[in-house]
């Protein structure tokens, strides 16, 4: 009941916020442009810069290569968007000073944090689902066989959800840094580490790179390393929970 009230409040705040709306729109537009647009350019205009770049990212014919391209786009946008929205959701309470209204109530502080994480992950799951539908519909529109669309959508959704969950350490960073800027900084750090690490061939051991590699044909990454982003999500959530359970105002 108490946690339910906190969850409804967090969902309402999230649904009304400009941060969430902007992030949602940006993700959908970027995924559509880079995946559907990229695949269309690779097939229809291979001589153009975009067509050449997209073609270099498509590692296999058919759905497999198309899903790999989509995973790259969905992965980066899901990590960045979820990190920023999570940083705002948690950190704004400290930045704006509204945290005082969430303490000295029957719900424990860590239950309030749980409501925040639940609301953000719910939004991220919906966004990943929308990304998946968009990608699948785009693939069919580009002439890929309809029968492969459900599996492609499931893979893209899984990549999005895994990367959204792996952003949970940002909740701890926003709490420890007492504001959303600390969380946004942590998000950018995760994106940079993932991209640089993957660029140097270390993607298999970087939790925020594993989901994209798993969905990329020829990467040699099976489903087992997906345990890495799950572990990061659990550790991040537990660290944030511990920080909220011990929360003190004015002491930092």
């Amino acid at each position: 009941m108490r946690a339910g009230v906190a969850h409804r409040l967090e969902v309402a705040k999230l649904a009304r916020s400009g941060v969430t709306r902007t992030a949602t729109l940006a993700c959908l537009v970027l995924v559509a442009l880079t995946t559907v647009g990229g695949a269309a350019a690779a097939g229809g205009a291979p001589g153009t810069p975009m067509g050449q770049q997209a073609a270099s990212l498509i590692a296999a014919p058919g759905w497999a290569g198309y899903v790999g391209l989509a995973a790259l786009s969905v992965g980066i946008t899901a990590l960045l968007a979820t990190g920023i929205v999570l940083a705002w959701t948690v950190g704004r309470e400290f930045t704006d000073g509204t945290i005082v209204g969430l303490l000295a109530i029957p719900a424990r502080p860590e239950q309030v944090l749980g409501a925040k994480i639940g609301a953000v992950l719910g939004w991220a799951a919906l966004l990943s689902g929308a990304d998946a539908l968009l990608v699948a519909a785009g693939g069919v529109a580009l002439g890929l066989p309809l029968a492969g669309a459900p599996a492609a959508a499931a893979t893209v959704a899984a990549v999005g959800i895994a990367l959204a969950a792996s952003a949970l350490p940002v909740a701890w960073a926003a709490t420890a840094g007492r504001g959303y800027l600390a969380g946004i900084g942590a998000t950018l750090g995760l994106v940079v580490v993932s991209n640089v690490g993957a660029g140097f061939g270390l993607g298999a051991v970087i939790p925020w790179a594993v989901p994209v590699l798993w969905a990329t044909p020829g990467s040699g990454i099976g489903p087992a390393p997906l345990a890495l982003p799950v572990a990061v999500a659990v550790v991040g959530a537990l660290a944030a929970r511990r920080a909220w359970a011990r929360l003190e105002l004015g002491a930092a």
Partner: protein, 244 residues
């Protein structure tokens, strides 16, 4: 009579500096007590400790008979507070903010809504309830925070500088509300550094200086400003190394 709020020997340092030093204070049901002091006296820290937002190094805080940081948190349903920042999210309407605060305190929705409407009418916010809080003035947001602190019918109310940004009409209305609350047996603790404001709403004022109560002033028949500075000066003289 059991105190609604009882602080005994509270001590807390922040970044190596003692902020609360053996703070002892109590508020009885039906009493409006003020905690007055200069900037940095420890008023906000004291409220944070009362509300369980800050752990004590020594001493105790009992809120409505419960330890402030006890595991069973149900008693917080009977406490209302406005400390530092009003409960006022800019993306929600004034009404949504008020109802959310009441729901977080476990208040029945219909009853809290009716009480919120009444308080809004008293404070002059009734025609702004459907407005997103980001469009409210500073005073409007303060009114939302005050209503959010009171709509769930608390038995103990803690208000930090409650008249911040309020217009004269709302200040008068708030004074009347506080009188109604105490008449109903609600305990109220108000912190302020505006002595004239305190004199009009509290029955007694405790002077906080250097993290502890150094004197208590009755409101009636007192030149509050003079009495306040006499108490503060006496505390300074009594302190080791203070002026002689």
């Amino acid at each position: 009579m059991t105190a609604a709020l009882a602080i005994r020997g509270a001590r807390r340092s922040l970044r190596g500096t003692p902020v609360l030093r053996d703070l002892t204070l109590s508020v009885a049901p039906g009493e409006c007590r003020a905690l007055i002091g200069m900037n940095g006296a420890g008023k906000t820290t004291a409220l944070r400790a009362v509300l369980g937002m800050l752990r004590l190094e020594a001493g105790s805080v009992r809120v409505l008979g419960h330890e402030a940081r006890s595991a069973d948190r149900r008693f917080w349903a009977q406490v209302g507070h406005l400390v530092e920042t009003p409960f006022c999210y800019p993306e929600l309407t004034a009404r949504e903010n008020i109802r959310s605060a009441a729901a977080l305190h476990g208040a029945p929705a219909r009853e809290a809504a009716a009480r919120g409407e009444h308080l809004a009418a008293v404070l002059g916010l009734e025609d702004r309830l459907e407005v997103p809080a980001r469009r409210l003035s500073l005073g409007g947001r303060q009114k939302v925070g005050l209503i959010a602190a009171l709509a769930h019918r608390p038995r103990l109310v803690l208000l930090d500088e409650p008249t911040n940004a309020l217009d004269p009409f709302a200040v008068l209305a708030l004074r009347g509300l506080l009188a109604e609350l105490t008449a109903d047996g609600v305990a109220v603790l108000v912190t302020s550094h505006h002595l004239d404001e305190v004199a009009r709403c509290a029955s007694r004022a405790d002077v906080l200086h250097g993290g502890r109560v150094v004197g208590s002033l009755p409101m009636e028949g007192t030149d509050l400003e003079r009495a306040f500075f006499e108490v503060v000066l006496a505390a300074e003289r009594a302190a080791p190394g203070g002026p002689s």
